[in-house]
């Protein structure tokens, strides 16, 4: 249920941005989550609806982009998608650097003045 807290913080960022930009209505919210964060989009959407009720973001569309877990091998440089929790490179090394999969950010909002 970390979805609720993340939805609360998202709503706060969206409302602050809308206010600073003079938006009367927020129409779209674009967020990116990495797979490792284990957000369930349906729960997140429900939590967000609850947080945004009665605000300028009340009816905003919520667009959730989920990114795969990708790693880059520090030994051979191979860049690969982690499947079935295999955090091991084809060269056998497990010294990896994360490229994506831990995202938890708001990309942009759209709205009307």
């Amino acid at each position: 249920m970390h979805e609720l807290r993340i939805a609360e913080d998202l709503t706060q960022i969206v409302l602050e941005t809308a206010k600073a930009s003079g938006l009367k209505k927020v129409t779209e919210i674009n967020v990116v989550f990495g797979k490792m964060i284990q957000i369930v989009p349906e729960i997140f959407e429900a939590a967000f609806r609850e947080c945004a009720r009665g605000t300028v973001a009340d009816y905003a569309g919520l667009n959730i982009e989920i990114r795969n877990v990708r790693m880059s091998c520090m030994k051979c440089g191979w860049d690969f998608k982690v499947q079935e929790n295999r955090f091991v490179c084809q060269c056998g090394s497990s010294e990896l650097e994360i490229i994506s999969g831990k995202e938890l950010f708001v990309k942009s909002i759209e709205g009307e003045h």
Partner: protein
């Protein structure tokens, strides 16, 4: 019109966590964030660990508990500073509540703080508390599939404690499959197999955790 934001949603938590980490580094206090499911044995492990480690370190505990102070009461016999954070249903601790709790300790008089997070394997892994490191605690009665289901925790933890080894023969827990999953997720991760009630592996655990505190 589109307004670019490109901001971490948990920025507020992260900023506070960075502040906490800097403060602890300045005061030379090691803070350990204990993460497990409910019932894995976090409080029992803490009881045993405090019994041993209070002989050589000045320790405080932050107890994250959904509504009660039962865990904290179990630790009162050690006569150490304990702060209870009731999350009122919240499934994890965050850096703001930790920062507030730290305000009630005399950090100059402490070496180690154990944080017992709320029993849950997903949410606490997402919220940086400013800890020095995280530990994952699992038990044989929960099943051997925890690393496969919650890889983030096992990627981020500095070690894994597998508790209730005394009960393993009564369960279908496969050590082989558990170790294999851990090997894929994080091969460098130390695994400590213990039984808090029977005492298996406890000396190794005390030595290991002392080394982590001192490094």
């Amino acid at each position: 019109m589109e307004i670019k934001i490109m901001k971490n949603i948990l920025d507020r938590n992260q900023n506070k966590a960075d502040e906490v980490r800097n403060l602890l580094a300045e005061k030379k206090v090691v803070m350990i964030n204990l993460i497990s499911s409910p019932g894995a044995g976090k409080t029992t492990l803490l009881e045993k660990t405090l019994g041993e480690l209070t002989k050589k370190y000045r320790i405080a505990v932050i107890e994250g508990d959904i509504t009660t102070d039962r865990d904290a009461r179990r630790l009162q016999k050690f006569n150490i500073p304990i702060i209870v954070i009731n999350t009122e249903g919240g499934c994890h601790l965050d850096s703001h509540s930790i920062s507030k709790a730290l305000g009630s300790f005399f950090l100059d008089e402490l070496d180690v703080i154990f944080v017992e997070n709320v029993g849950n394997l997903i949410c606490p892994s997402q919220f940086d508390l400013g800890e020095t490191f995280k530990l994952a605690i699992v038990s044989t009665t929960e099943g051997d599939d925890k690393p496969a289901k919650y890889p983030m925790l096992f990627r981020e933890a500095k070690g894994v404690v597998l508790n209730k080894m005394d009960l393993i023969s009564y369960t279908n827990f496969s050590l082989e499959s558990f170790r294999k999953d851990l090997q894929m997720i994080n091969p460098a991760l130390p695994l400590l197999e213990i039984s808090c009630t029977r005492g298996d592996g406890m000396n190794e655990w005390f030595e290991w955790i002392s080394r982590q505190i001192e490094s």
